[in-house]
């Protein structure tokens, strides 16, 4: 594996499967009595959050703590970082604090990439969401959840078709999922009104559609993205009602899906907008499970990037 996890592109198929396999074993241990492993004892993980995201932060925090790492939460909002102090200054501060890994959430696309490539810091950089770019651990936990239900928790996702529905244009979750699903052999299908698809969508790996009803019957999983209310004001779509009518997942639509087809959502959900409460709470919904899987997957990433001596991963024996 590469030293950092900045983009889903950093993972080869073997890397991705290794993360999922490792997460599976860690989940098995965590499900039992073991809440804490000594693996990262003495290592410092900094959660560097320039944007609020309680869910992602506590998921990484739980993952780090279960591996016995020391966790420092550095919320940059409201601190000197908001204005003036640069990313570089912050990075150098963390370096002098002896951070072994920096989990970074940033509003600007590419900020984790800079941290990983500029020699400001030696630490491993893990992207916890940057601007409208990527969120690779979210894609890993989605892949883990899908694999667990549809591929018996082993191997890759080859042959599966997964619809990603909603604000693709602004979604880092969609970008990372499009890449990782492809890496794992699945076909991502981006579904949104044309205004919420990026200009070059036809050149992305995978497929796209403007029509949710056509796509739903043939997919193995559907991932509903949160739609921000403010998009409406920028004329991306006329009204929330019209959006929900065309792209919201309700019971009627869910009934057109295959029996085994899963419903995922990265959260937090806008119930009534992109997903109805009935669907969110239905038997095929794995939304709650995604949260638990998030901790296992992040533990796996932390172990694989931080547990060993160097950038290579894999048992050479």
């Amino acid at each position: 594996m590469k030293k950092h996890l900045v983009s889903a592109n950093d993972l080869t198929k073997d890397d991705a499967v290794l993360v999922l396999d490792t997460a599976k074993e860690l989940a098995a241990i965590s499900d039992g009595l073991v809440k804490k492993l000594p693996t990262l004892r003495g290592r410092t993980v900094v959660n560097l959050f320039f944007e609020d995201s309680t869910r992602t932060r506590i998921s990484f925090e739980a993952a780090s703590k279960r591996l016995s790492a020391d966790v420092i939460n550095f919320s940059a909002k409201g601190s000197s970082v908001s204005k003036g102090e640069s990313l570089k200054d912050t990075a150098q501060t963390l370096q002098s604090m002896g951070a072994d890994a920096v989990v970074i959430r940033h509003g600007s696309s590419g900020a984790p990439h800079l941290l990983a490539t500029r020699n400001w810091i030696n630490a491993v950089v893990i992207n916890a969401g940057d601007g409208t770019h990527e969120h690779p651990t979210q894609a890993l936990l989605d892949a883990y959840t899908i694999r667990k239900h549809l591929r018996n928790n082993t191997g890759d996702l080859s042959g599966l078709r997964v619809a990603i529905v909603g604000d693709i244009l602004h979604s880092r979750v969609a970008r990372s999922n499009a890449i990782l699903l492809k890496t794992l052999g699945a076909t991502p299908i981006m579904v949104a009104p044309p205004t919420l698809l990026p200009v070059g969508i036809k050149d992305w790996s995978g497929e796209y559609s403007y029509n949710l009803d056509e796509v739903l019957p043939e997919v193995d999983a559907v991932m509903m993205l949160r739609v921000q209310q403010e998009r409406m004001n920028d004329a991306y779509f006329p009204t929330a009602r019209e959006y929900a009518r065309n792209f919201g997942l309700n019971i009627r639509r869910q009934k057109t899906m295959q029996k085994h087809a899963l419903v995922l959502h990265p959260g937090p959900m806008n119930r009534g907008m992109e997903i109805t409460a009935e669907v969110a709470d239905s038997a095929n919904s794995v939304v709650i499970e995604q949260v638990a899987n998030g901790v296992s997957v992040r533990m796996a990433v932390l172990y694989l990037l931080l547990g060993g001596t160097n950038n290579e991963t894999g048992d050479k024996n």
Binding site: S109, G110, L114, G131, H133, R172, G200
Partner: protein, 430 residues
Amino acid sequence: MKILLKNGSIKGEKVLDILIENDKIIKIGAPNTIKDTEAEIVDLTGLIVLPGLVDLHTHLREPGREDAETISTGSAAAAKGGYTAVHAMANTLPVADTAGVVEQVWNLGKSVGLVDVYPVGAVTIGLLGENLAELSAMADSKARVRIFSDDGNCVSDPVLMRRALEYVKAFNGVIAQHAQEPRLTQNAQMNESTLSGQLGLTGWPAVAEEAIVARDVLLTEHVQSKLHVCHASTAGTVEILRWAKDKKVNVTAEVTPHHLFLSQIHCESYDAKFKVNPPLRRVEDVTELRNALAQGIIDVVATDHAPHPREDKEGEWNSAAFGMTGLETALAVVATAMIDTKLMTWSDVARVMSEKPAEIGQLTEHGRPIAENEIANLCIIDPNTSWKVDAKDTHSLSTNNPFDGMTLKSKVVHTIFRGKFSMKSGQVQK
């Protein structure tokens, strides 16, 4: 004081000797036909002599942002790059929107004395796009402003643009438009493309430039005025310019060295030294811009030299400033992009980097033929060298040069400004 330049190739053609006395070329002749015992003799064997370069688009930052550049440091960078005249853009603090400010810039340029600094006047007060600045007062000032631009802030209001085009006809002025539809480029970060989608950087569509260029061309034709299109960056803009020139609309256009050389692929690094307005475009656009320059559809190369202090360039892409420095590398970039590729000759380079810019700026002492009795503004180039750009090795106060680390062909060796070396053997003569 006399200088005898021996064996220089004039615009890459005839090899001649040139004798300069005070600020003028007093004699030109075949090699070794001019004898003058008092003159300092400089051997130019193997070198090319062009008229001193003229930049239509330079940000000197003074007054207001002297941390990024001053007229003194910018002039030195210009001299180093072979320039003998630059046009200082109006987006200073205070804005160059009054006769007072443009005269101050003009005077500062004179007192530095390394290049002629011609101020560009703002079209609207404070570059706010609301009310016309006192264009006529600037035109009549000591600075004799002829080019007006709200550069960076497009004059997007069609009525205001129409009025400005009409108004400057009274003193034969030209409106230099930075073509950028503001609503289509809100928070835009890079060229809108598959790549921008993948990098998660807000797209800057080509149409945001082309829509304004098309509108302005039509307005210019309608009111029979003069338009200059700043830093054309797309194949679509070239297409509109070609159409306008066919229709004999009085429009000229510039392209920057970086748009002739760099494409959007550099944005993949998220290194903000590649963040510029207009943004770096597709490879296809680069190719089209080169062809357009060679064919004369685009008239001139202008640097858009835009110095920024380091802290404005080393952070995250979204919060970094737009712009690149370019005065010291422009000639080499153009030579590498256009001469090395056999698209142009040195005589063409003289046209697009000196003669035509001087004509657009209505300068009488720059971009002139290399002939007896002309003012001696010259740029002397070694066409047979290649060098690696080091952004830190600069006279500019800023180091945001995107060509850092790249290898370029040809280098300016000497610059002669009004009969004196402003730069000699790579050393700026302060």
